[in-house]
Subunit: 406 residues, 2 copies
């Protein structure tokens, strides 16, 4: 058994960023920029008004009130370019290009319309006031999104505004999910014999999809037969960049996965992690460097090992340079007890932010072992309890987030 | 102008949960349970071993070491039911049903195989040890997921394990996105005339998709013509449960949206919020109670108003009973200045958790007004600065999260 931190380090040291591909911008949500995105022109491309009002020569308003002659109007996108001379002004709308001659915009709120062609100004303006200068948001060629940035809606806005469509993103690895166990029934519907429904297949498929960082290939359930297992694994290693097997990795008589992987030319990196749940977790490399994760078959064990090892691997493969903060310190709002002498306990917990001071706070969830899928269904993530002792209410421990927070 | 909190209250008071529909479990990720999910049988359905080892009568191991006769084997899912008599044991694998007669499982680690049929036990076991009793995780009929729970992977696992497939979920509202402005060019590609690319359409579509709580209907860009606008709005009100218009809500001459909505029988609830950006935000109700949000046309303004009003509305319509913590207090890691005398400033910021004490910490991002889409592209959300003053480094302010954290 190795420590969870050592296991994670080993996993990450075998991951590298995926190749870069091009996708249409409207398919790019949640992808990661594979290349810096640059402004394809000055932003804004001309001096722009940030207000509705009048384009003026600031010098004309050195003393106010002052009346100026209104000689025209410009709206955003309009082609009109009336020149503003001394004693003149032009009505201007937010986002419109500042017409030649003018060097400031007076807000409409500080003006009065004396007649359709005469405007009275009641406040001075400084040169440049209410104008967003050409190139002040970004110069042509300037990087507006770094390589490795994840494309959330606000980054999609940046891409759209510089015409980055299609956009270069890191490819998503193809990840196979294969459940083992003769007791399992593929398909989770009521039609399935309820004795041993496969909840791991649906849960891990969902966990892969929820990351947004992988394409998921469901390989179904294979029974505990070495030959059948080898056949399915061989095909999976051919087609996938990474593979999750579920079950069959303990030391039991029917735990055929480690041997089958070895026979197929996989190299075991570790098998056994000092964690609860998740102790029999296995990590191996396929003949072409594919990542192979052997996850334990208990539902909570499989999801715990997924979030400890698979999700970080996917984030590294995604090319993300600043992964979201999924691991941070929290305060326990009630005591939590670990009785694991030689393993780190990952205990399901709910997360909340203390309304008085903002401190992240965890409510540990009572559970009946790693088969307690129901307790898992109440958690937002896990608290990490490395020692066999009582952690009092108020103790600060690490929290690993499972569910997205927005 | 009304206060942002009042505006949010008004929006939420007009939202109600969507009707319930059935979806296949493998389509249910991110949906919200429309009905309590119940165990369709005891979980586990029989007494189960939580270990690899031997099913025994605890009474037989009152003094150890003791040798017992091995009379058979049970694996998970196997039909074998060998009865364990006094002086006997049965090899058992994790997850297998405990055979009749046995009342405890001894871990394989505390035994030795004397011969294929004789096992030596070196440790006592208590009755019930290493057994997960029938119904101890959940009794048949017991609620295992509350109505209003969002279906993340760990909840998909729960549904799968009780055969909840299809599963009842709240329907997702159909939300139309309509951009206005003659200066805008639909389509964001390099082919489009770069003068005024529409970044709001792609960004708001992405923002809707990212919530996972809406079906998005992109209605494109309509030019600043009252008749064309009315035609498109009428169709949108017919087809959509909610509608986002972008641009055309200021007091400018080309801001036709409020009047067009009134002409189509919409009732304005508010128009103008004391916030920066986002001041001209409008909220109205359609003839059938549809929610209509008039968002301002600047990219950051539109996204700010989306996260302040639209996203909370979608969460309420989704039927979620415990929305994720998207609003919490943070510490400013450097000073932030608001010069908005009568409005709350929403300033883009990055979020991190202090590695020393876990405190959520925000780094405000310098920006050049609400047209600064590039600054927005660096943020994880916004800090809320209600007063016109300098907020020193270390001040505690509210943070509103935009990007998912896992």
């Amino acid at each position: 058994m190795i420590a969870p931190a050592r296991a994670l380090w080993l996993v990450l040291s075998h991951c590298s960023a995926q190749p870069v591909e091009q996708v249409a911008l409207d398919e790019a949500l949640g992808r990661v920029a594979g290349r810096a995105v640059r402004a394809d022109r000055d932003m804004p491309p001309a001096d722009r008004s940030t207000m509705d009002g009048y384009a003026v020569r600031a010098n004309d308003l050195r003393s106010v009130p002052r009346e100026l002659k209104m000689i025209g109007e410009v709206a955003a996108g309009s082609g009109a370019r009336p020149r503003v001379g001394p004693g003149e002004c032009v009505r201007i709308l937010t986002g419109a290009n500042v017409p030649p001659g003018a060097d400031a915009v007076a807000m409409v709120e500080s003006t009065e319309e004396v007649s359709p062609k005469v405007i009275r100004f009641c406040a001075k303006v400084a040169p440049g006031e209410n104008i967003l200068c050409r190139g002040s948001v970004a110069r042509r060629g300037q990087v507006v999104l770094d390589k490795g940035t994840r494309l959330h809606p606000q980054q999609i806005a940046v891409c759209a505004s510089v015409g980055a469509d299609p956009v270069s993103v890191f490819a998503r690895p193809r990840v196979g999910v294969l459940c083992t166990g003769q007791e399992l029934v593929s398909g989770s519907g009521r039609a399935a014999r309820p004795a041993q429904r496969d909840s791991n297949g649906p849960a891990l498929r969902a966990a892969l999809l929820a990351t947004g960082l992988a394409r998921c290939e469901v390989l179904g359930v294979v029974e505990d037969d070495p030959k059948a297992l080898r056949r399915v694994l061989r095909a999976a290693l051919r087609d996938c960049d990474a593979l999750l097997t579920v079950g069959g990795v303990s030391a039991g008589k029917y735990d055929f996965v480690p041997r089958a992987l070895t026979e197929l030319g996989c190299r075991e990196v570790f098998h056994g992690v000092a964690m609860k749940p998740g102790k029999p977790t296995l990590f191996a490399l396929g003949p072409k460097g594919q990542l192979v994760f052997g996850l334990p078959g208990n539902p909570l064990s499989a999801l715990t090992a997924f979030h400890e090892f698979v999700a970080p691997a996917l984030r590294k493969m995604s090319g993300m340079t600043a992964p979201p903060p999924t691991r941070f310190l929290v305060r326990l709002c009630k005591r939590a007890v670990s009785d694991c002498a030689d393993r780190t306990l990952f205990m399901p917990a709910q997360l909340l932010f203390d309304p008085s001071d903002g401190a992240p706070t965890a409510i540990p969830i009572e559970m009946r072992g790693s088969a307690d899928v129901v307790a898992g269904g109440q958690c937002d993530g896990v608290v990490v309890l490395p020692e066999a002792r009582t952690y009092k209410a108020g103790s600060v421990v690490e929290f690993h987030l499972w569910s997205p927070m927005a």
